[in-house]
């Protein structure tokens, strides 16, 4: 024990490239690698100066952690918009989807673990291509009253008694 408190409060963002497996099958590993590198490069540009960091790459997705909840929402929107702009311009061939939740988590080396992370991972599974879904808790914590979000509905997450209400960014 070092006496160092590993508990953190922040935002967990997951991304997922939709159709990546089929894309790899059709276009090959090199094209897939370029796509992943493009996603990471865009994310790093968006995250610069936000306090957010890529914790790890999970297959074709990213797990990003923000120490500041207040910036996590804006950065998530920026990332979605950046990738969508590339997609429309034809420089990013697939769509991504994003899921954001916030709350307590634990540091484990460079990794971040905990229920907050698990819930964010569940949320991204419910998002459509080109869409950012966020939990109601994240919306309230980020004080985002002026941003255009629309209620999507409540979803159940294993191990949590109350449903998690989700909202879709409409911008």
């Amino acid at each position: 024990m070092t006496g160092h408190d590993p508990t953190r409060v922040g935002g967990a963002l997951f991304t997922d490239i939709v159709g990546f497996t089929e894309f790899t099958d059709s276009r090959g590993d090199l094209a897939a690698l370029e796509l992943l590198e493009r996603q990471t490069a865009v994310a790093e540009v968006v995250l610069a100066g936000t306090g957010g960091r890529i914790v790890k790459e999970l297959g074709d997705g990213l797990f990003i952690w923000f120490d500041e909840i207040s910036v996590s929402l804006g950065a998530s929107i920026d990332l979605m918009r950046s990738i969508e702009a590339d997609r429309r311009a034809g420089t990013f061939p697939l769509s991504i989807r994003l899921g954001l939740h916030c709350g307590d988590a634990m540091l484990r080396g460079d990794d971040v673990i905990g229920h907050t992370v698990n819930i964010a991972a569940r949320i991204v599974d419910l998002a459509s291509p080109g869409e950012l879904l966020v939990s109601e808790h994240a919306l309230r914590s980020a004080a985002s009253d002026r941003l255009p979000f629309v209620a999507v509905g409540p979803t159940r997450v294993k191990g949590i008694a109350d449903p998690i209400w989700l909202h879709r960014f409409e911008g």
């Binding site: 059709s26 629309v150 409540p154």
Partner: protein
């Protein structure tokens, strides 16, 4: 339905775990009535929670509905307001709404008439929409059928088929990895067709842009 009317409308939030949910928008109703659930009211928001196998709710016409359930079936009848349904495996049927956001990972989604935007997401099950304004529909392997679209469309599918029948000159963005894409535009509408960002058919003047992308699926764009 004007924007003012929409904002002033009732909002009913429904939360269940499974079973059948029937919601009827009744033009004669002035309050929310529920059989099989507990009802709580807070301002313009009414929350109905239930663990019963069957839940029946009657709401005033054009009430906004936000429904969450794990499994079973969700039927929304009559003329609803903005409708959102989020489910893991329930089948979803919505007869008429101002706008729709329906998601079910493994249940089929059938939507009748939507005045404004229609959003739907499924996984292996099909999504069918009879008539809508704009549309944003996505599946993994389920077939997407949009029979009469009156606004811009974005449709995404990995291996299922996409069929879009446009009722007006509006932009289309349809994408599959291996599924077939079929887009029809009304007779006389001049579409600029772009396949994989390559302009395949470019009239000198055009009324709308149809972007269709598929890694290996067949693509058809035609006038009806």
């Amino acid at each position: 339905v004007s924007i003012t009317e929409l904002h002033d409308a009732l909002v009913v939030r429904v939360t269940t775990t499974s079973g059948r949910i029937e919601i009827t928008s009744d033009p004669a109703a002035t309050t929310v009535r529920s059989v099989g659930g507990s009802v709580e009211r807070s301002g313009s928001v009414t929350t109905v929670s239930s663990t019963a196998a069957r839940l029946s709710i009657v709401v005033p016409e054009r009430t906004h509905l936000v429904v969450g359930t794990t499994s079973g079936r969700v039927d929304v009848r009559g003329r609803a307001g903005a409708v959102s349904v989020l489910s893991t495996s329930a089948s979803i049927s919505i007869e008429n709404a101002v706008s729709v956001d329906a998601r079910s990972e493994s249940g089929a989604i059938r939507i009748g008439q939507v005045l404004a935007e229609c959003r739907a997401a499924a996984s292996a099950s099909r999504v069918e929409v009879e008539r809508c304004g704009s549309a944003h529909v996505t599946t993994k392997s389920g077939r997407i059928t949009l029979r009469s679209v009156h606004g811009p469309v974005r449709a995404h599918c990995i291996s299922g088929r996409i069929e879009i029948a446009m009722a007006t000159a509006a932009d289309v963005d349809a994408e599959t990895v291996s599924g077939r894409i079929s887009v029809t535009v009304p007779k006389g509408v001049r579409a600029r067709v772009m396949a994989d960002r390559t302009q395949a058919d470019v009239p000198e003047e055009f009324d709308c842009t149809v972007v269709v992308r598929s890694v290996s699926g067949r693509i058809d764009v035609s006038n009806r």
